[in-house]
């Protein structure tokens, strides 16, 4: 469980996050949705400590993460897996080396044990016969799956995904969504996904938080989202003609 309490963040006097309060539950896929520039990524990066929040607390299962000392934070981060928007795989390492990296760095496993664990993770995300390829030699969807494999290599308690579907075709995007959902249940993780993809909301949104101009504007489940009367959220959800048609059909 991750609790965000009264978090605010500014850059050069521009307030990007305003007094955010939200609870992300364990074993569920928690989604942060909002327009580009609404503060989603800043919130996610503040939660994981890549940005220091100006005010407020970020509490990971009772531990105030943003108040920890540098070394304590480092220890805590071993329990965190992260999937970045572009995958963020290490260009100079092969697929297998990328997945083995956290094992190399933080475990005392033997080479064969590390290789076995890496292969287990790669198999779990359906990457087969690509161990010796470099990130530039595989597709965007495969890169995302390898990044997920790397993120789960150390059995993390928390998984963060920053726009996991960006740049992917709809079918591959659904595969990635399903994978995130399955892994969240399998590893009983607290998963937070940053997205503006409405398909993801409908597929995996156990809990959804809508952020608007740096403020928490709405919170609920994927089933509640279509019935909301929140104007800004409706504008966001029904921005496309396809979603407007779905709404019209539902209303009929």
């Amino acid at each position: 469980m991750i609790e965000v309490k009264k978090v605010s963040k500014s850059f050069n006097d521009i307030q990007v996050l305003k007094d955010i309060n939200v609870l992300f539950e364990k074993g569920k896929t928690n989604l942060i949705i909002g327009q580009s520039g609404s503060g989603k990524t800043v919130l996610l990066k503040s939660i994981i400590g890549l940005y220091d929040a100006d005010y407020g607390d970020i509490i990971f299962d009772g531990i105030v993460f943003n108040k920890l000392e540098f070394n304590e934070k480092k220890e805590m981060r071993k329990q965190i897996g992260m999937l970045f928007q572009g995958g963020a795989l290490f260009d100079s390492s092969t697929v297998e080396e990328n997945v083995m990296y956290p094992l190399d760095m933080f475990t005392k496993m033997s080479s064969s044990e590390k290789r076995d664990r890496a292969n287990e993770c790669l198999k779990r995300v359906n990457i087969i016969n690509a161990n010796k390829l470099y990130p530039s030699e595989i597709s965007g969807g495969m890169q995302k799956r390898v990044a997920i494999a790397r993120a789960i290599a150390l059995n993390p308690k928390y998984l963060f995904c920053d726009e996991p579907n960006s740049g992917l075709d709809p079918q591959t995007a659904i595969l990635i969504d399903d994978l995130i959902k399955e892994l969240t249940i399998e590893y009983n993780m607290t998963t937070i996904v940053n997205t503006h993809d409405m398909n993801s909301v409908m597929e995996i949104g156990d809990k959804v938080m809508f952020i608007y101009k740096g403020e928490k504007w709405w919170e609920g489940t994927k089933d509640e989202i279509f019935d909301t009367e929140n104007a800004e959220l409706n504008n966001f959800i029904f921005a496309s003609k396809l979603s407007q048609k779905i709404r019209d059909l539902k209303n009929k």
């Binding site: 990066k45 994981i48 890549l50 934070k73 480092k74 220890e75 805590m76 981060r77 071993k78 965190i80 992260m82 970045f84 928007q85 572009g86 963020a88 795989l89 290490f90 260009d91 990296y101 956290p102 190399d104 760095m105 933080f106 963060f160």
Partner: protein, 246 residues
């Protein structure tokens, strides 16, 4: 204010670079890779430049000393001292600033803008130390060898050019390079080279590490890395010459 800010950021980065490594074995492996990438891969260019540098110094010295009052071995002596004292350390360092400085800044800068550095931080890895320390160790340890090689190849280039153009003879040249030889000049050049290597690597890594934006910013960081490394090499050349030779 910006200058103080940058100097402060540079030293804070160095503080992180020299903090205790997470796993020595991995750092050792990375250092070996950097030896190959930054050191061994620079041998070719340094050798080519040193041959031509030695040749030009010999020919220019010969044309500037066409005086029967001056001893014939002076060409070899002047070529040796120029190469040992200045060219094999400072000029080679300036060339390395262009070659490995831009390489380091663009590599680390690209890792920054593609969030690979963020990925390391999220895993709990000290990204500054992991990415920069092996490069510093590799260049500081390897660059004196490059300097030594440059001296040998440069003097050889001078001999080839001198003899083939007829401005000197083999005997005069060899006598010249042995005449009044001060071994400390080699030590002086090697010390300078190690310090220049540290400057090149740390300044370039600093510019790469604090790149933000996209490919344009990475390109700008790479240019800044080369320009600033070169300026600091020249500045420290004066300081070190005063300290080590006075």
């Amino acid at each position: 204010m910006s200058l103080f800010n940058q100097v402060g950021k540079y030293f804070l980065l160095l503080f992180r670079v020299f903090s205790k490594p997470e796993k020595m074995k991995i750092y050792y492996r990375e250092t070996i890779k950097e030896f190959e990438k930054l050191g061994l891969n620079s041998i070719g260019i340094i050798a080519i430049i040193s041959v031509f540098m030695g040749a030009v110094i010999t020919i220019q010295t010969a044309y500037n000393t066409e005086n029967p009052m001056l001893p014939t071995y002076l060409i070899g002596l002047a070529a040796r001292d120029s190469i040992l004292l200045e060219f094999s350390s400072t000029i080679v360092a300036l060339i390395l600033a262009g070659k490995i400085g831009s390489n380091i800044a663009s590599e680390i800068g690209t890792m920054r803008v593609t969030e690979q550095i963020d990925a390391l931080e999220i895993m709990g890895v000290n990204s500054a130390s992991y990415l920069i320390l092996p490069k510093i160790i590799a260049t500081v340890l390897f660059s004196p060898f490059l300097c030594l090689m440059s001296m040998i190849v440069g003097i050889f280039g001078g001999w080839v050019a001198g003899v083939s153009t007829g401005v000197t003879t083999t005997q005069d040249y060899i006598y010249g390079i042995q005449y009044a030889f001060i071994p400390y000049y080699i030590v002086y050049a090697l010390i300078k080279m190690a310090i220049f290597a540290f400057l090149i690597t740390s300044i370039s890594a600093y510019h790469g590490y604090y790149s933000y934006g996209g490919s344009l910013e990475v390109g700008k960081s790479s240019t800044k890395a080369v320009v600033r490394s070169s300026i600091f090499i020249l500045l420290f050349n004066v300081i070190l010459t005063q300290l080590l030779l006075s």
